[in-house]
Amino acid sequence: MPSKPKSPKSRLQKTRLFFWRWHRRIGVSAALVVVLASFTGILLNHTSELELGKSPVRQDWLLEYYGVELPALINFSAGEQWVSGDDNQYLYLDGHQFAYCNGRLIGVAETDGLLVAACTEELILMTRAGEVVERLGSTYGLPVPLAAVGSCGAALCLRSQEKNWVADFQQLVWQPTEQITTWSTPVAMPSALRELVLDEQLGSDLSWERVVQDLHSGRILGQWGVWVVDLAALFLVFLSLSGFFLWYQQYRRRR
């Protein structure tokens, strides 16, 4: 028995039903991406006022996600103060950068009211306020590379070339010694201090503007994120067409 031809009305109803169903489904599916893209779009529109380009990202997890390596920090206590060094050879006193050191920081000691930061290739004498008084390297006969620094009685002792040396900072003489030395050893860095150092050290490579841009385009999730945002854009196109169709149908029926 031949099937009865469909009336134009029933075909229209089916199309309408199809659009209703998919308008809802696609609307729900695209909602999250659309909200995210809208919100980030607003932020990008006002990036100058919000100074996103100048705002460095400080969050460890986000920097790590972007492959920005956190500097390895080493920390020594000097009385009530802290001297830290990073793997870019910058030194910090109580979390504030004060000098560049030739070599890796290996210890801190005190002599004649001055702090002595010992790096593998030089000694930096500084005040407790962080002013560099003098830098002493191999030019001044310092036996390098230094392996350790510490106190031996009232003097300062160094470990280099598998020998211990006592330092005379008046005449810049380094004499081998057998004195018992209390060597400076690294200590755990208080979290607040670590935050302070990272705050000075990190972030210049990654701004919030870049992160918002990547969120907006989906690039933050790699190539898949871009495809997801592309799909959401196509969904938006569908939603606008289906929305118009459904509105037009209703509009015609009312008339």
């Binding site: 000098a99 005040t127 002013e131 560099v132 008084v133 003098e134 830098r135 030019t139 001044y140 006969g141 008046q170 005449q171 810049l172």
Partner: protein, 184 residues
């Protein structure tokens, strides 16, 4: 044949580069050159704020140290300074007497090019130079440059000026007569 020529050229080039770098004068040798037969201890020159500003204007970059070491006797002082040529520090030794340079030597050269500045044909130009005046911190005579060693030449000029300036700040810059006049 071509390979042999290339190898010879490469070896010659590497020898030329390594000939530029090196430690040429030790601290003890410099002291012996400046004060033969003397065993002098280090003197310390403390730098105040205005002097630091003057030093920074000579060097054209910041100068962080609060004190500088030198040797001094009679009216002669000897200084050791480091200054970056192109990328790496060059260690200079400067002997100053009576407000003028007696000698300037390169104690250690670390750059791969420009090491010609250590030869006497170039350093001889600095002998006898002084500062233009107390107010003007520059050399009182021009120094001919060397092609390919412009930055090392510039570094040497800065250090020569710096040593002359620092010499002025020491008690050794005054004549014996003036020094004795200061003794109560």
């Amino acid at each position: 044949m071509l390979r042999s020529v290339c190898v010879v050229i490469l070896v010659s080039l590497s020898l030329a580069v390594s000939a530029q770098r090196g430690a040429f004068v030790s601290v003890d040798e410099l002291r012996e050159q400046a004060f033969p037969g003397e065993t002098l201890g280090w003197q310390t020159l403390w730098i105040n704020k205005s002097q630091r500003a003057a030093i920074e204007s000579i060097l054209d970059h910041s100068f962080k140290s609060l004190r500088v070491r030198y040797w001094g006797k009679d009216q002669r002082t000897t200084w050791i300074f480091e200054e970056i040529g192109k990328e790496l520090p060059i260690t200079f030794g400067v002997i100053v007497e009576d407000q003028s340079i007696v000698d300037i030597v390169i104690m250690e050269y670390r750059e791969s090019r420009g090491g010609e500045v250590r030869y006497p044909f170039f350093t001889a130009q600095f002998k006898g130079l002084g500062l233009k005046g107390d107010e003007e911190l520059s050399l009182n005579h021009s120094v001919d440059g060397i092609t390919g060693a412009t930055l090392s030449v510039r570094a040497m000029k800065k250090i020569a000026t710096l040593a002359l300036f620092c010499h002025q700040l020491t008690p050794f810059s005054q004549s014996e007569h003036a020094k004795q006049a200061q003794i109560p």
